[in-house]
């Protein structure tokens, strides 16, 4: 039955021109289902989850105060539609609230400010020390856009064309879409990370509890959770969208006590920045997996 569900999801995705990995695991029973779980994929904004955990780990260790103020001066940061990245005037925020901005509205500028505090190599090293070999953090968020702009100027529809073409040929013109150079991860590594965060089996319980709390504030509900929205269900997640990449990882928790960790990492064969059918297909996959794995 679990194989049937996984095969059905792969078939539905294929019909929409979506390739990628999917993994869902019941956090308490360990039962799981999915496909292509060990294929490395550029993480896009999903990287903000391991980044947040490393920052929270430093806070829990007393290395810095979550109330410490940080000043952001646009337009030095990454472009983005929400949060500080969309600000036009300087603003000062506490580190703890930068984490909130980064996880709730996927604020790229907040992420890069946090990477000023904990540089990329230190984040990567901390993940290695936690035995997450399939998770790599290799660049600032700003770098994703810089690479796309480097290849195509400011024409993101051209970048999208390139991304889709490169996907067919397997040669990557945009460096941050190449798993060999991008911050990358696998569905398996991301689900394991979520599992360890939800079971307090990584970092410090204060850090994992705060990460769970902040991931619950994500405002985007159009993708993984689109078919799992009800008062009796709680969802904590993080999307990642860049050009033809549409990812999301998260945990669904039901009033009945069932907890399922999910990761969907997709690449679409489509030159469109909006593809609600693909978002919905990811949501349908999440629902089918949750229903198959809950007790």
């Amino acid at each position: 039955m679990k194989t049937e569900v996984a095969d059905g999801i792969a078939r539905d995705w294929d019909a929409l021109g979506v390739r990628g990995s999917f993994l869902a695991r019941n956090i308490d029973t360990g039962e799981d289902l999915g496909f292509a779980v060990d294929v490395p994929v550029p993480l896009a904004s999903v990287v903000k989850v391991p980044l947040a955990l490393v920052v929270l780990d430093r806070i829990a260790a007393g290395e810095f105060d979550p109330a410490r103020p940080v000043t952001y001066v646009p337009p030095a940061g990454s472009p983005g539609p929400a949060g500080l990245a969309a600000f036009r005037h300087p603003a000062t925020l506490a580190v703890g609230d930068l984490l909130l901005m980064m996880l709730s509205v996927s604020d790229n500028a907040a992420a890069d400010l946090l990477l000023d505090l904990v540089p990329v190599p230190e984040v990567d090293e901390r993940l290695r020390s936690w035995d997450c070999p399939d998770l790599r953090v290799r660049h600032r968020l700003h770098h994703m856009y810089a690479c796309a702009a480097g290849a195509c100027g400011n024409d993101f529809s051209l970048a999208l064309e390139l991304a889709v073409r490169d996907e067919r040929t397997g040669r990557h013109t945009i460096e941050t879409l190449d798993p060999a150079h991008a911050s990358r991860g696998t569905a398996g590594a991301l689900v394991s990370l979520l599992e360890r965060v939800w079971r307090d089996e990584i970092s410090d319980p204060a850090a994992t509890a705060e990460l769970r709390r902040l991931m619950g504030f994500q405002v985007f509900a159009h993708r993984m959770v689109s078919e799992l929205r009800a008062d009796s269900l709680r969802y904590s997640g993080k999307t990642g969208s860049f050009l033809h990449l549409r990812h999301e990882i998260g945990v669904v928790e039901a009033d009945s006590g069932d907890r399922v960790a999910l990761a969907a990492l997709t690449r679409a064969d489509r030159r469109a920045s909006l593809a609600p059918d693909i978002d919905l297909a990811i949501g349908v996959a999440a629902r089918r997996a949750f229903e198959a794995l809950r007790s």
Binding site: M1, E227, L228, S232, S295
Partner: protein, 287 residues
């Protein structure tokens, strides 16, 4: 004056030829016995006993009344017996839910016979079982109570045309694809109780289902036909679904299940207590 108690004091003293032995036999205090004899003497207007000798003796007046006193007491005793046997022969009606297994109901009737009680069963909706008990038309009834307080619990589930590939059913699982109205969930009369309906409606809303999907089933046969035709889901217990060839999956949330306790009437001379043998036989009915 309780004439029967006073006559009993008179005959006992006459037979025992002693105030103290008569008081022992009647299990009353001797001063009370003496008072009763005195008030009876005042009532009849003459001495019943001669208390001047060493041993008490019945007077001539007393001797002439004694056979009549005995006759009154015997007749009173027969009247009591007649009332007792009439009470035992009366049929006691037990209120039960609709669609119980006939075999289990036969078990209730047989248990009654074994314990000298004539029982009859009557299928009634839950609110009528409650009111029948308080007004006395029912002697006993299976009453609906919240499952967490109940002594007997019956899992409720949804009957459908096809077997679901799961052990238990969460209401969230029933959400239809976006923009499509889901299948109605039909509730039998047995579940049309304010508290049960309210619980189910609230749980459905929290699980993302429109409350209008919850509807009364009406006659069970029509509701089953809709269910077997794949046009509805019927809220019912497992034996009912299986008996009619429908698949059945229990609701995961036990607070939505049925709860019962056995109630007894306190009117018309009933004690308000449920005999253990009846509680056991009725537990079988809910299985």
């Amino acid at each position: 004056m309780d004439l029967l108690a006073h006559l009993a004091a008179f005959t006992a003293t006459a037979e025992e030829v002693s105030f103290s032995r008569a008081a022992d036999r009647l299990e009353i205090a001797q001063p009370l016995l003496s008072r009763r004899i005195k008030s009876l003497e005042a009532y009849f207007g003459g001495q019943l006993f001669d208390r001047s000798r060493r041993q008490v003796a019945v007077t001539e007046f007393g001797t002439s009344l004694l056979p009549y006193a005995r006759d009154v007491l015997e007749r009173a005793e027969r009247l009591d017996q007649a009332a007792r046997s009439a009470r035992a022969a009366r049929t006691r009606v037990v209120g039960v839910p609709a669609h119980c297994a006939p075999v289990a109901l036969a078990g209730v009737l047989r248990a009654g016979t074994e314990h000298g009680t004539t029982l009859a069963v009557r299928e009634l909706p839950p609110q009528q079982r409650q009111s029948g008990l308080s007004e006395g038309s029912l002697a006993y009834a299976l009453l609906r109570v919240a499952p967490e307080r109940a002594t007997l619990r019956v899992p409720l589930g949804l009957a459908g045309a096809r077997q679901l590939a799961r052990r238990t059913l969460h209401l969230e699982d029933l959400r239809p694809p976006r923009g499509v109205a889901g299948l109605p969930i039909l509730a039998l009369e047995e579940d049309e109780l304010p508290y049960a309906q309210d619980r189910l409606a609230r749980a459905a809303a929290r699980a993302g289902l429109p409350e209008t999907l919850l509807r009364p089933a009406g006659p069970a046969a029509a509701a089953l036909a809709d269910t077997l035709a794949g046009r509805a889901r019927l809220l019912c217990a497992e034996p009912f679904a299986r008996q009619h060839g429908a698949s059945w999956t229990p609701l995961a949330d036990p607070s939505l299940h049925r709860g019962y306790e056995v109630g007894a009437s306190e009117s018309h001379g009933e004690t308000g207590e449920v005999p253990q043998w009846l509680a056991e036989a009725l537990a079988e009915v809910t299985r």
